[in-house]
Amino acid sequence: MTDFHVAQMNVAKLRAPEGDPLVAEFTAGVDLMNELADRSPGFVWRLKEEDVDLAALGIQPAPPEMIATMSVWESLEALRGYVYHSTHLDYLRRRREWFVPGESAMVLWWVEAGRIPTLRDGLQRLALLGAEGPGPRAFTFRQPFPAPELSRP
């Protein structure tokens, strides 16, 4: 049994706001991909738009083109399986049709099993990755770091 789960946050800028024909195929796939994630092995939790109250968090609402995902998985392998070894890969392959290059970022970090990260946690980890590059507290698929050792009595 693992004591740590891996959390993921991704932000990206669409070429046009949701509802625009330019990004229609992407928008049409969002629900499909979310449902696929929900039933993928090792899936723990994901942020749902309706659960986010930016005002209550004191976070400035992002422009309508900015989209974000945040989720928690039992292991890096489980997350990798969903991201790269499922039909999700085909959406990733086509991301330049829908997203502005250089305006997206993804960060991974370890959370204690059972703990659900907040939007603020995710944004902080993204900022950390941007400022310091991959490290034990904010990393990427290409440069992962092992889960911390739990100190035991």
């Binding site: 399986g81 790269y84 499922s86 392959r93 991301r95 330049r96 250089g102």
Partner: protein
């Protein structure tokens, strides 16, 4: 050629210098995704079981094959016999170039630059054009084999590709490299004159190429 890593790679590659052993390696590769037993390798090579086992175990020592044990008959319990020793290709890669070259590092830097600048679509176009140049070929299996893939037709008629020609760099940059591969395969089919009948699509799974080739739906 002087670092310990290079010498290990050289050892692994020289383990294939023997003709029979190379044929044993190929027999195991051909059995994928299933592992191969000593008997079937012996049969494929037309040699005795003991000689086949000798070469297979030499390939294991060299790190080119991995061993697992399983009962092959599906029987279990008393009387089922000992589990058979089975062989499959090791996931480790060995590259030897003389003099040493670092094309893998170059590929990774190029891939990262393409991603960062958002030039994926250009890569896909280049790959498709490159694929088209391969020219006419009426047989899809010959086309795929001739271009470095290991096609295997499944029961539903889909052709899976058992190898990933870009494995190391594809693991680092999956959307980019698998997208490139998809474009290249569709280019190959088009250049071969097979695009009316066959189509490559993204169909990811671990342990094989993330692109499969299937028949176009016809009425």
């Amino acid at each position: 050629m002087t670092t310990p890593d290079h010498l290990d790679d050289l050892d692994a590659v020289t383990a294939l210098a023997d003709r029979v052993r190379r044929a044993a390696y190929r027999a195991v590769a051909d059995a994928a995704p299933d592992p191969a037993g000593r008997d079937e390798v012996a049969e494929a090579l037309g040699v005795g079981r003991t000689l086949a086992a000798f070469h297979l175990d030499k390939l294991v020592d060299a790190g080119l094959l991995e061993v697992s044990y399983a009962r092959r008959s599906g029987r279990s319990g008393p009387g089922a016999g000992r589990p058979a020793k089975l062989y499959r290709l090791s996931a480790a890669e060995h590259a030897v170039s003389v003099p040493p070259r670092a094309y893998r590092s170059a590929a990774e830097l190029l891939a990262e630059a393409l991603e960062r600048s958002g030039a994926e679509e250009t890569l896909y176009r280049v790959a498709e054009e490159h694929g088209r140049k391969a020219g006419p070929e009426p047989d899809v299996t010959t086309l795929l084999t001739g271009n470095g893939y290991q096609p295997a037709t499944r029961e539903d008629g889909r052709i899976e590709l058992r190898n990933c020609p870009y494995h190391r760099v594809a693991e680092q940059f999956p959307p980019l490299i698998c997208g490139m591969n998809l474009a290249m395969l569709n280019g190959l089919l088009e250049g071969a004159g097979l695009a009316d009948e066959w189509c490559a699509r993204m169909d990811p799974a671990p342990g094989r190429c993330c692109v499969t080739v299937s028949k176009n739906k016809t009425n």
